[in-house]
């Protein structure tokens, strides 16, 4: 295995205009926002997403006008509400949508990862997810077939999806790309396995010997990873289990701005496009804000603050 460390700029160059992406994380956790902040600042056109629950990635790409279509299962902001720019993009026809259940999206990624022409599964059948295509023909996406073993069982089969690039944020990796992450791992394994190119941004790069101490905790093996970027707070304003909570104030600030297209555009310019680099993006947030997010190592989260 070769040394896969690259700079953020080198990693960004792996995502061309027109690329099909998938990104790790879900709810307000583990989304590679540092990477996508920088991608938005650089600018890309005609991106597509093969997503499961990377709501913030979808929303910011939509808000930046860079998202053209999405295969996905659910994008919403837990505790806030709808992803407004993403949803309105579908409403006004600038973003094309192809709907799935979570398991349906995962099975398409698994089929893509494992070179299988389809995966069988027991959900989605009988619904508009199966019967009504978005931008795909429904019969290219899901069919309900009789078991080839003639046992009379009806089973849904779904076709593969292969993203060009997966972008994952994790706690740590070695230079070879062995990746470890605590907490619920969402769909990271399936997304990384399916994609042609896998970029991982991490809080910390550690020696391979450190990875070897807890091999059971390795979520992605080096042989599925193409580029490793050292990007502390690379999930901020979403959280990283064991490191820091999501920054609910910052997220809420965006959410409020997102309810108006003009205000949202200003917000994107000011917060996402203006910073010169990742450090400027973090510096704008400020040390006090970022350090306050740190989680308690025993609890795994940030307990309520003691009133002064």
């Amino acid at each position: 295995m070769a040394d896969k460390r690259v700079s953020l700029d080198e990693a960004l160059a792996l995502v061309p205009d027109g690329a099909t992406l998938t990104a790790g994380g879900f709810a307000h956790s583990h989304q590679p926002m540092g990477f996508f902040r920088a991608l938005i600042a650089e600018g890309r056109s005609d991106l597509s997403l093969m997503g499961v629950a990377e709501c913030w990635v979808a929303e910011w790409l939509a808000a930046a006008g860079m998202l053209r279509k999405a295969w996905f299962s659910n994008f919403m902001f837990e505790g806030f509400g709808r992803c407004r720019r993403f949803s309105e993009g579908i409403e006004n026809g600038t973003i094309a949508a192809e709907d799935h259940s979570h398991f349906g999206m995962i099975m398409r990624l698994v089929a893509g990862a494992e070179r299988l022409p389809f995966m069988p599964m027991l959900s989605q059948g009988g619904t508009d997810i199966a019967l009504l295509g978005g931008f795909e023909q429904p019969e290219d996406k899901i069919r309900v077939i009789d078991s080839p073993f003639g046992d009379g069982q009806r089973v849904t089969v779904t076709s593969p999806l292969v993203p060009d690039v997966a972008v994952i944020h994790a706690a740590r990796a070695d230079r070879l790309g062995n990746v470890q992450l605590g907490g619920a791992s969402a769909v990271i394994e399936e997304q990384a396995a399916a994609a042609r190119t896998v970029i991982v941004t991490v809080e910390k790069i550690v020696e391979t010997d450190e990875i070897r101490r807890t091999p059971e905790a390795t979520l992605l093996s080096a042989l599925t990873v193409d580029a490793v970027v050292h990007l502390p707070f690379g999930a901020w304003p979403t959280g990283v289990y064991g490191y820091h909570d999501p920054d609910m104030d910052f997220l809420s600030n965006y959410y409020a701005a997102s309810r108006d297209a003009g205000a949202c555009s200003d917000w994107v310019d000011r917060h996402l496009r203006a910073p010169a680099d990742h450090w400027a993006w973090l510096d704008a947030a400020g040390m006090a804000r970022l350090l306050a997010l740190r989680t308690d190592p025993v609890l795994g989260y940030r307990p309520a603050e003691v009133p002064a």
């Binding site: 307000h28 299962s73 837990e78 709808r82 959900s123 619904t127 849904t156 769909v187 959280g239």
Partner: protein, 252 residues
């Protein structure tokens, strides 16, 4: 009297002791912890984030929240959690919705024409998987003629589809929805038609008032009873589980 408390009680009652329950944020989470604190101490809670059987010290506001992960006996990924559904290991799941039809089919995808919707909603997420594969499911939905509709704008999540036999033809292993818990009472499904009918009413609610809040004709009920209001012990438990009343207000 609190409608929220009645809904939480009614939802909790659907959980049997020993069940494996697939739970989302909000009222179902409160109901699940109410059930666990009362008649179902051996319920096992599973969350789509991959968290199994957690022991949180305070109520979480999301299935992905780190305070929910505290004390879990198992943490994996989303595929592992959803695979439990496909393995038939989940007894009950709870669902919310923007629209619901007489068969308990749900729409959480789009209002208006799917390709050019008036309002784009978040999409299925795990809901379709839960409703397709859990042994039984329970829908929680406040009444209203724009929510309880004759025809969905989009069928995201299967109830009984078009009625008897339809789920089997579609390859769905679970039995589908058994109850719809509203702010006026609890609905079930006629075995013959698999269409919705009233089962239990909240105190002071009439069958006519319930039908008024539903945009399709309910099937004739077999027997309708009235639910007793929550006792002081239940209210105290609800207050302990959700101290801020985030999901279950104890005053209307």
């Amino acid at each position: 009297m609190s409608r929220d408390a009645l809904m939480a009680m009614a939802a909790a009652r659907e959980i049997r002791d020993g069940d494996v329950a697939f739970i989302g944020t909000g009222l179902p989470m409160v109901a699940a912890y109410l059930a666990k604190a009362t008649h179902a101490p051996e319920v096992t809670l599973v969350f789509e984030s991959g968290i199994i059987d957690p022991a949180p010290l305070e109520l979480a506001t999301g299935v992905g929240e780190y305070r929910l992960a505290f004390g879990a006996t198992s943490i994996r990924g989303t595929r592992a959690a959803l695979t439990l559904l496909q393995q038939g290991k989940v007894d009950i799941g709870f669902l919310g919705t923007a629209e619901i039809d007489a068969y308990g089919n749900l729409n959480t995808t789009a209002i208006g024409e799917y390709h050019h919707p008036d309002v784009r909603l978040p999409g299925s997420g795990g809901a379709n998987d839960i409703a397709s594969m859990a042994r039984r499911s329970v829908v929680i939905a406040r009444t209203g003629r724009r929510r309880f509709v004759e025809t969905l704008h989009y069928l995201t999540t299967p109830g009984h589809l078009t009625g008897p036999g339809a789920r089997k033809d579609a390859g769905l292993p679970g039995d589908g929805p058994v109850r719809v818990i509203t702010d006026m009472g609890v609905l079930g499904f006629s075995p013959e038609t698999q269409r919705m009918r009233a089962e239990r009413l909240f105190p002071g609610v009439t069958l006519e008032a319930l039908q008024e809040g539903i945009g399709f004709a309910l099937d004739p009920p077999e027997e309708v009873t009235t639910i007793a209001p929550p006792d002081a012990g239940t209210l105290a438990l609800l207050r302990r589980i959700d101290p801020a009343g985030t999901y279950v207000a104890l005053e209307d």
